[in-house]
């Protein structure tokens, strides 16, 4: 990689690492944490959607599974946050296998529909299995993370999440630049050819889906200890959609695109918070416009229109 291409990511990382330490406003600290959280989710979803071409509209469900596991485990057994991190990740991975093994042979939109159905069934379970999940009331009083007797402050949580994000990005980088990454991309490009070249399609699809769920579950564990409360409303289909948008608009199949998508899609709706009710209209419009710019050449059209307008002005001035 050239120095120029390294410059922006390194600068970004520096800002990301320094901000939680210097900013005093708890609201900004919280927003930074949410950006990191959604970055972990977007980067993990990218493994399935961006590299392997699997549609998944229930990524937030795996996030939620990790959070519930962490909540129950730490409340009932007093397990430390590192244990719940692993457990949350692994249980989410287990659900990923459960969903993925029978369904990953399905194409495109069929898979998207299955994931929607799966997400709704898990949500209804969370709402109705009251003895385990406390239903719509959610689970309060989750112990915060603790290391050597010290409770994590929001700033510490920022660094905890950032470390996990960096580990995740490095893992994705190593996978994408390997025999496995090439197999995943081949599946996205042309399953028939990939199969003919000896790529075991089912194995790699399930692997991608499982890894994707693993990191989402880990994010769930971090989040549960941070907010100390989980409920079914924390992990909705709207969140899944929003994570998917981060991947697609940020740049699916690229290493850092999803992070850029996450920063934009967490910060922009926050800036619109003043508009309260109108906010989701702007979010919806941002999704449509984002897609039109990325896939429909809207940016080009606008540029050309401005160019024509400029040219006509120029002519008028001359005349």
């Amino acid at each position: 990689m050239s120095t120029v291409r390294r410059f922006w990511p390194i600068l970004g990382l520096l800002v990301w690492a320094v901000l939680p330490a210097v900013v005093k406003d708890p609201y900004v600290i919280h927003m930074l944490f949410m950006v990191t959280m959604f970055s972990i989710l977007a980067v993990s979803l990218n493994i399935a959607v961006g590299y392997t071409g699997l549609s998944n509209l229930s990524h937030a469900t795996f996030f939620g599974i990790g959070a519930y596991v962490a909540a129950l485990l730490s409340i009932k057994t007093g397990a430390s946050f590192l244990i719940t991190l692993l457990a949350g990740g692994l249980v989410a991975l287990g659900f990923g296998l459960l969903l993925g093994l029978p369904t990953l042979r399905l194409k495109g939109f069929y898979l998207a529909l299955v994931t929607i159905g799966f997400g709704q069934i898990i949500r209804l379970t969370e709402l109705n299995w009251i003895s385990l999940t406390n239903g719509p009331m959610g689970i309060p009083g989750i112990p915060t993370a603790r290391l050597a007797g010290y409770e994590f402050t929001p700033v510490a949580f920022n660094y905890y999440a950032l470390v996990i994000l960096l580990l995740e990005i490095e893992a994705v980088r190593r996978i994408s630049d390997s025999r496995i990454g090439r197999a995943l991309m081949a599946i996205k490009n042309d399953e028939i050819v990939a199969n003919a070249l000896g790529v075991n399609i089912t194995y790699y699809k399930v692997l991608a889906f499982a890894l994707s769920s693993l990191f989402a579950g880990m994010a769930g564990s971090i989040y549960a200890h941070y907010v100390t409360f989980v409920s079914p409303d924390s992990f909705t289909m709207a969140d899944s959609v929003s994570i998917l948008c981060m991947v697609i608009l940020g740049g699916s199949g690229t290493l850092l695109g999803p992070v850029i998508g996450a920063v934009a899609l967490v910060v922009i709706p926050e800036l619109l918070r003043f508009a309260s009710l109108y906010r989701m209209i702007f979010v919806g419009a941002a999704m449509v416009i984002g897609i039109l710019v990325r896939e429909g050449g809207l940016g080009q059209t606008i540029k050309e229109a401005i160019g024509r307008f400029g040219a006509s002005l120029h002519r008028e001035v001359k005349a």
């Binding site: 369904t103 939109f109 069929y110 299955v114 159905g117 709402l127 959609v241 989701m280």
Partner: protein, 289 residues
């Protein structure tokens, strides 16, 4: 008891069929599930309700206005959001449709509030009792009207020139274009027709339950696209049968299972169908390209 549930299921089912037809036709020509379609039905219900209750117009003119509004809305959505990305990956179109869904659901909340609204009875419901089964004139009206509309749609698709063009476009858009069919017009027509059917479906659901609310688009939309998958994506008879089956399954499940489970039934059906026969009852094989 069971017969009673069959009658109720049939009523609900035919409204799902009308919605499913729109999903299926749009899937046919553009190969994606338009997630905003349920919200169009919701907007249709709101426009009809506002015109009927708020502006005190007749029920029929209110419905016609709602159908017109939805047709314009559907076509605008297609022109603005879907036409520029016809050649992009279908996941992009799905995201655009989810964006539209957010816009419509929130837009209605902004205009008419987040609380459910009451839909007054449009006709004096007469209740009939035949062989121990009760049904009322609203139910009968819904079923009869739905079946008539579906019959007309079949005629349109199989007996008219525009129907033939629509089928050709669904089979192969590019080749249909080369055969002199104006693809843009056909796709606009599909969206207009689908949106009109959605409006009727939304109004029927509102009249049947006597209520309407902003998130109903998502609720009935889910039933609609599950019906499409059940019947076979892209298949017109499939959408009709799928919708009716969906209504029956939901209604019978409500009798035999606790109500929490009933909500999950649509999704269980969705997953089961996709696992066992992804092409649905009437669909083409879609697992392998």
């Amino acid at each position: 008891m069971i017969f009673q549930q069959v009658i109720n299921g049939l009523t609900l089912g035919t409204t799902y069929s009308l919605l499913a037809l729109g999903y299926s036709m749009i899937f046919g020509v553009l190969s994606f599930i338009n997630f905003a379609h349920g919200d169009i039905a919701m907007v249709g219900a709101y426009v009809a309700w506002y015109c009927f209750v708020g502006l005190r117009r007749g029920f029929i003119p209110s419905c016609l206005l709602a159908m017109l509004a939805c047709a314009v809305l559907g076509v605008t959505m297609e022109k603005v959001g879907y036409m520029p990305i016809r050649r992009a990956p279908r996941l992009a179109a799905v995201i655009a449709s989810l964006g539209f869904s957010f816009i419509l659901a929130t837009g209605v909340q902004v205009i008419w509030g987040t609380q459910p609204q009451q839909m007054p009875p449009v006709i004096d419901a007469v209740t009939y009792r035949v062989l121990g089964v009760t049904f009322n004139s609203i139910q009968m009206g819904v079923v009869v009207l739905s079946i008539v509309i579906m019959g007309l749609l079949q005629l349109l698709i199989h007996r008219t020139k525009v129907g033939m063009a629509l089928r050709a476009t669904a089979i192969d858009r590019d080749t249909a274009g080369l055969m002199g069919i104006n693809i843009n017009n056909i796709i606009s027509f599909t969206f207009a027709l689908g949106s009109v059917l959605a409006a009727i479906s939304g109004i029927m659901v509102a009249v049947y339950y006597g209520a309407l609310y902003p998130s109903m688009g998502g609720v009935i939309g889910t039933k609609g696209f599950t019906a499409v998958v059940l019947g076979g994506a892209g298949s017109i008879p499939g959408a009709m049968v799928g919708g009716i089956l969906m209504g029956l399954i939901e209604s019978l499940a409500g009798t035999f299972m606790p109500s929490e489970v009933r909500d999950a039934v649509a999704f269980l059906v969705l997953i089961l169908v996709l696992l066992i026969k992804p092409s649905g009852l009437f669909g083409r094989e879609m697992v392998k390209e």
